[in-house]
Structure formats: C-alpha cells, structure tokens
C-alpha cells in the first residue's frame, strides 16, 4: 500500500506534520505542565477497541480503493488467501498451503469450514471470482493492475485453486497478501449488487460490519465464528480525527485506544503520559527524492552523486525525526528480501560533493524540489533542510510547494521539474514490488534508463531462482548508487499511540489488522 493521499487520506496526510508543528502542539505543550496526574491505567475491563485515524473510510468494497484509510478497515473485514504478519513473513490466510507446481502454475489449498459473515460457506469459486473481478473491466475496480501476471484461474474442486501465470511469477503468493487480493463473496455480491455490497460489506474476517456514520464512527462487531479465533474484544470502532493535535489529546485522555500517524515530536510526550504509550515499527519502505533524470543537469550522474553526498541524513533523522528513522544504504528497504546488510549507510561528504560538482561542470542551474506539505511526513521541512545543505556545497536549490492533487497530476504526466518526494512501499517485501515496480520501463517513475539495470530487473522479476535474483539485485544496487534515479533519504518508523492496556504489534506496511496474533487487551 502506497501511503499516498488518495481519498480523504489527502487531508490527513496534508496535516500530518504541517499542523502538528504549528499552533496547536505549541499550545498543548504549554499547558501540559499543569495537567493533573491521572490514575495509572495498565489494565482495562473494556470490550471495545477504538481506533482513531487521520481520515474516514470512503468505500468498503476492497477492490474499489487503495487509500490507506480504507485499507486499514478492509483488511479486518476481509481475508486474503495469504497473510503478511508484522514479522514481514507470509502465513496462511484463507489458503492453508500453496506450492509452485510448474514454472507458471501455482496450486492453493483453501481452508475448509470458513463461513462468510452472512453464514454462507466459503469455496474456491469465491476466490476465483474475487481475483478475476479485480481485472474484469465490467467490474470497474481500481486495483486492475495488481494481478496482471495472471493468465487463468481454475477451481477444480471447492477447496483447490490453480493459478496459471503468463510468465514465471515468484511473487504471486506475496501479491495475494496485499490490496486487491481481499476475497469477496461471489453469491452475496451477485445477489445484492456492487452498491449494496459496498454499503453493507460481507467478508470472512475477524470483524463484521455493524454500522457507519460518515466522518463520525464506524462500528465493527467481532466475528465469534472467525476461523482464526475470536479477537480479544467485542467491538472495533474506527473514528476519523483529522487534526493531529486533537488525535494526540484523544489518546492522552484515553478517549480512544489507538491512534495512527503519531508525529515524531509527540513520542516523548505520549510516553510520559500515565495512560498512553508510543509504539513504532520500521516502515517497510523508504522516503526518497525521486529524480526526473531527463531534465538538465539531472541527466548527469556525477551531479546526482554530488547531491546525494551533500545530504546530512544523520542530522535529518536526529532533528526532524527525533531519532525515529534510519539512514538507508541503498534502494532496498531494511527488512525486505535481498536487503544487503553489508553495505554502509549512505555517506555524507560535502567536500567530495563540491569536487564532483566542479568536475561535472555544474553551472549553477536551478535544481528544483517540488514538495507537498504532508504527502509524506515532514516533507516540507526535509525539503528545506536538504535545499540548505545543497546551497552549502554551491547548488542553486529551489523549493517549490505544490498541492497534493497537483503532485498526482505531475506524477501522471511525468512533468516534475526535478525532484519530488516519494515513499515507495515494499508491497511485496521484495525489490521487485518496490524499486522495479516504480523505476522499471513504463513504470510511474520511468525517468531514467540503463540497459544493464533493465535487463537484470526483467530477469529477476520472472525468475524462481532466489540465488540468481539476489545477485541481480546486488548488481542493480551498484548501478543505482552510481546513477541515483532516486536520492534515497531515509527509512522512517511508523508511529502509533496506544493506551497502556493495549498490546498491539503494528504491521510495517501500514496494513492495520486487529487479529489474535498481534492484538490483546490486558485485563485485570
């Protein structure tokens, strides 16, 4: 899931830090010293988990949205065939086992005895229908690009599925764990139609739809017959609290049990509270300045090397992120397949940067960062800090602020003037799902081509040989670090606030799931 601000998400991202850094947090800090001590609340009798996120859900049909506010909800109502747990590994979901039975075939065994929330039994026909629906033009879904490698799906018996792919696809089980892969009920959807299904969704997940008051509260009831066992609460309520300061106060006061998108500068404050604590998980992805390498002088690799060398990433992590991030060592996020732990963190060397610029014949051409405010957390402050660091080595850096939808259009038209923030997410826990998906030919960030890089990327995508893939990604990383199609900046932590009685292990890719394996409420 791209954290992109689609849907009501746009608002929530926009104000993630922009507002937090503003008046409200300043005011809350001022008065904090006078707050009386509340009783220590390490346990609870509550049977309801209230989750506050930055924006409301807009659609329940999981095939109609890729907004993270929607996905946090739909991953709880629905199940996928495979399931990615917070440890980053794939586990059984609605499928109990799967295996590659040929270069282009995968066989999945479905779990028996699973019931939909309306009591209907789950069969392989539901799964076949769901995946085919994602790319069926008549269904008008918004996830049509997720399963483009699939050629055919067969359901020979009620609990077997056979996928035939166009070319070998080592990542099919990983693709099925992510958005687009949620399994929807064929019979119910056929009976009531897509509009009624979207209004009153029926899934197989640990919670079922109860009621929704737009922009106020979504109530989900625990599914007592869940195949994975009933979760440790009777209800899960999602509340949109768009204002960051209000969301932080809500967790401090104990009005909600979980908040998402806690700003780094509020971590200490939440941790000091007797009721709440901050929790973090390393984001499965990177924050990068993607580069339009077609414009001058960014078509010159020497210049991009200099720009990368001139960024003091330690300072950014320390001052703008309060330590809540890592300095990356290349284009593969820590925690992903084929991450190379032996590479050193990206270096800071202003003297070498200056020399590079001189040798490259840099003639003071403007270098633009077109930044949004809050598309990725801290984007504007980071842009300003980086521009200042670039100015220190003699680069004519210009920061321009654009609105989120303008960014979306520039992204579509590939019309950025230079650099722009991107937060490539490891949707598949693999470089193919992140670096190659975005930077490959025809991909959304296709601004730069290199024959060897392309050859390796294509070969790795369709290879079932993990050793070969590992070598390919090592070579691609070397080429990448020479050419910098992205200037990688940092790998941040995803931050949450929890009431102290909530035990929750967040998922690194913002796939928010309330399940038995990661959630418990401590009771007296």
């Amino acid at each position: 899931m791209k954290r992109g601000g689609r849907g009501s998400q746009a608002l929530s991202r926009r104000d993630f830090l922009g507002r937090a850094a503003g008046l409200g947090i300043a005011a809350t800090g001022l008065l904090e010293a006078t707050r009386p001590e509340a009783a220590v609340a390490q346990t609870t009798q509550k049977r309801e988990l209230i989750v506050a996120q930055g924006g409301d859900v807009s659609k329940f049909d999981p095939h109609l949205s890729t907004s993270s506010n929607d996905i946090r909800v739909s991953f709880n109502i629905f199940d996928n065939l495979t399931s990615r747990h917070p440890d980053g590994k794939l586990y059984p979901g609605l499928a109990t086992e799967w295996a590659s039975t040929g270069p282009t075939t995968w066989r999945f065994k479905l779990r028996q005895g699973v019931k939909w929330h309306n009591g209907d039994p789950l069969t392989s026909a539901d799964a076949k229908f769901s995946i085919e629906r994602t790319y069926d033009p008549a269904a008008k879904t918004l996830v049509a690009t997720v399963f483009t490698t699939i050629d055919r799906i067969d359901a020979p018996d009620p609990f077997t599925l056979i996928f035939t792919t166009k070319k070998p696809d080592p990542l099919l089980p990983a693709r099925l764990a992510f958005y687009g892969g949620q399994i929807v009920p064929k019979k119910y959807l056929g009976e009531v139609g897509p509009d009624a299904f979207n209004a009153k969704p029926v899934g197989t997940g640990p919670v079922r739809f109860v009621s929704w008051t737009k922009d106020d509260r979504l109530v989900l009831g625990a599914n007592p017959d869940y195949w994975g066992g009933k979760i440790d609460t009777d209800r899960v309520v999602f509340r949109p609290i768009p204002e960051t300061a209000s969301r932080v106060i809500a967790i401090l006061k104990g009005e909600v049990d979980v908040i998402t998108q806690l700003p780094p500068d509020q971590v200490a404050r939440v941790d000091r509270s007797p009721k709440a604590r901050a929790a973090s998980t390393l984001y499965a992805g990177l924050y990068v300045l993607a580069v339009n390498s077609k414009v001058k002088p960014l078509d010159n690799p020497r210049i991009k090397q200099a720009l990368s060398l001139a960024i003091d990433r330690q300072a950014i992590v320390k001052d703008l992120w309060r330590g809540q991030g890592l300095v990356p060592n290349g284009p593969i996020a820590k925690g992903d397949n084929h991450y190379d732990a032996s590479l050193p963190p990206l270096p800071y060397d202003p003297a070498k940067a200056k020399a590079n610029l001189r040798e490259a014949g840099y003639k003071n051409e403007p270098i633009y960062i077109e930044t949004t405010v809050g598309y990725v957390a801290n984007d504007k402050p980071m842009s300003e800090a980086i521009a200042a660091m670039w100015k220190d080595v003699g680069v004519n850096a210009v920061v321009e602020v654009i609105e989120y939808s303008v960014r979306a259009e520039k992204n579509r038209d590939r019309s950025f003037k230079g650099m722009f923030w991107s937060d490539p997410t490891s949707t598949l826990g693999d470089p193919d799902g992140m670096m190659w998906r975005l930077l490959g030919p025809g991909g959304p960030q296709d601004y730069w081509r290199h024959p060897e890089f392309d050859e390796l990327g294509n070969a790795a995508r369709f290879s079932l040989d993990e050793k070969f893939r590992d070598q390919a990604y090592k070579k691609m990383t070397r080429i990448f670090l020479e050419h910098n199609p992205w200037i990688v900046v940092l790998q941040p932590y995803e931050l949450y606030g929890f009431e102290r009685y909530v035990e929750f292990i967040p998922n690194p890719n913002q796939q928010f799931e309330v399940r038995r394996f990661n959630f418990r409420m401590r009771r007296a």
Binding site: S8, P242, G443
Partner: protein, 310 residues
C-alpha cells in the same frame, strides 16, 4: 399586496440567477483546478487505466458537453454521483447537513444569548470596568484563530477539567466545545454591534424626550432603544447565522465534527466535483433563504424599507 408579490417574484428570480451563477462558477473552477482520476487510482496505474476511468466518469468529454449534461441533470434534481463515495452526491451532502445545522444553530444560540445582553449592558454602562472587560474579551474573541481557540478549549475543558469529550458527535456534551469555538467570533461581533447600535440610539432626540417625560431607564431601554437598535443587530446576526451554517471548516476539523464544511474541503482536495457542487449549492440556498427572510423581517420592523423596496 401587488407590491409585495412583485417584490417576492423579483427576489425569487434573482435567487435563481444567483444559484445558476454559483453553480457555473464552481463547475468551471473545479474542472480547471485538477483531475480526480490520479487521486483515485494507485500511483503506479498505467495510462490505459487512467484513460478508462476518465472515460467512465465522462471526464474525457469537452467541457461544454460536460456542462450541458450537468445543467440538464441539475434541472432534474440530479447532482451526479460522488466520485469518491460512489453514491449520489446530493445524498452524501445531505447526510452531513443535520450535523452542520446542529452545530451552527447551537453556536448561534450561544452567541446570541451571551452577546446580546452583554452588548446592551456595555452600552448602558459604557466606560465602566465591566464594559471595558467585555469589549476586551470580545476583541480577543474576534481575533483569536479558531484553531488555537479550539485546541485551548479541548485542553482546558476536556483533558484538564475532564468536563467534555475531545471530539466526535454524540449527546449534548459533545456539542458544547465546538459550538463555543464556532460561536466565539459571532458572539464577539454581535456584542460589539449591539453595543454601538444601542449607544447610537441612546443619543437620539426621542430618547432624550422619553427621559425628560420621566420614563424609567428600564422602560427607555426596553421600549424605545432596543426596538430602534434592532435593524443593524438583526443584519449582523442574520449574516452570522449564514456564516455559521456555511463555513465551520476549521472547527469541524479540530473537533472531528462530521459536518458539511469538512466534507466540502475534503471533496475539494479529492476533486470530487459532484459533492463540491452539491455542498456549495446547499450553502447558497441557505444564504439566499436567510437573506430573503431578513429582508422580510426588515419590512416588518421598518416600514421605510418596505416602501423603498417595492
């Protein structure tokens, strides 16, 4: 009677023209401002996919055709389907109206109930310490940013004193802080206008005459002053009411209040044209209706206004 009928017909015609103009401007501005499709699709969606969705939403047609379709549908009461919610846009907007109305009305009532007596009192006891204090508070109320005031109230009354919930919509307790926040500006301006209107009238000859006749001060204020000071107060109050109903964006955001202002802003960010058009249309209808009602009240209170307008 003939005069009043013509007056109303004229006003109604003007109302329709205003609604048409507002809808057209919103239609054009929204379409010039950006395309909703890149916001709907995953960031790696290929161009064919974007083209398909644009076609399905009818966004690939010429602007003039889109406009003709839009006007044709509106005349049939159809404001299109929300791109974001995939539901009829007017129904989406209407779903938010009760919350906005509740908040706006509460803010308005708090403002009027507090501001009016303060304004009158300040005028009658002008230059007293209480007058200075009240007008000082009013000045702060008019100049404090809504966002700041809202957060301060949440900190003071919910986190610290634990009297009210921080956010959301529920029983009356949920209404108090957002209504105070939203009503603060209106409260301050109504109090100030009331004070100056009352002061103005108190300088008039007929007040002096009434006092000279030996009428008690309470009667002077109740019978002569307030009635004559009512027009400017009514104007400002009516306008504030419209503003409260129309634009509570910041308050609704700070308090997570599920109102139409927040919906409108989100829909602008999402380029959800039909919902923006619906919310603006509702707000325009409300404003026009309030203005009409004000004019009618004017006529009742001041015969000169009736004569001038017919």
């Amino acid at each position: 009677m003939h005069g009043l009928g013509a007056f109303l017909a004229y006003r109604l015609l003007r109302a329709f023209v205003a609604l048409w103009l507002v809808s057209t401007v919103v239609f054009v501005v929204m379409r010039l401002s950006g395309d909703p499709v890149p916001l709907l699709l995953p960031p790696d969606a290929p161009t064919v996919e974007i083209t398909r969705v644009r076609h399905e939403l009818g966004l690939d047609r010429p602007l003039a055709v889109q406009y003709a379709v839009f006007i044709g549908n509106v005349l049939h009461g159809d404001f299109g389907r929300s791109i974001h919610f995939r539901q009829p846009a007017m129904a989406v907007a209407f779903a938010y109206l009760p919350a906005t109305f509740e908040l706006g009305l509460a803010a308005f009532l708090i403002a009027v109930v507090v501001a009016f007596p303060i304004g009158v009192f300040s005028a009658v006891r002008r230059n007293s310490p209480l007058d200075h204090a009240a007008m000082g508070v009013a000045l702060v109320g008019q100049s404090a940013p809504t966002f700041f005031l809202g957060i301060l109230l949440i900190l003071g009354f919910s986190l610290w004193l634990n009297l009210f919930p921080t956010s959301g919509r529920g029983d009356w307790r949920y209404l108090v802080l957002p209504a105070l926040t939203l009503g603060a500006f209106a409260m301050a301006s109504i109090a100030r206008i009331t004070r100056s209107a009352v002061l103005e009238v108190q300088r008039a000859d007929y007040i002096r005459t009434a006092r000279a006749k030996g009428m008690g001060e309470f009667m002077v204020i109740a019978k002569h002053t307030l009635k004559n000071a009512a027009l400017p107060i009514l104007t400002i109050t009516g306008l504030q009411f419209g503003t409260l109903l129309g634009g509570a964006v910041v308050t609704e955001t700070v308090f997570s209040w599920p109102g139409m202002g927040r919906l409108a802003i989100q829909s602008i960010y999402n380029r959800d044209y039909p919902v923006v058009q619906s919310t603006v249309f509702i707000a325009a209808v409300l404003f026009i209706f309030i203005n009409l009602a004000l004019d009618a009240l004017y006529g009742v209170l001041d015969p000169r206004a009736r004569a001038a307008r017919s």
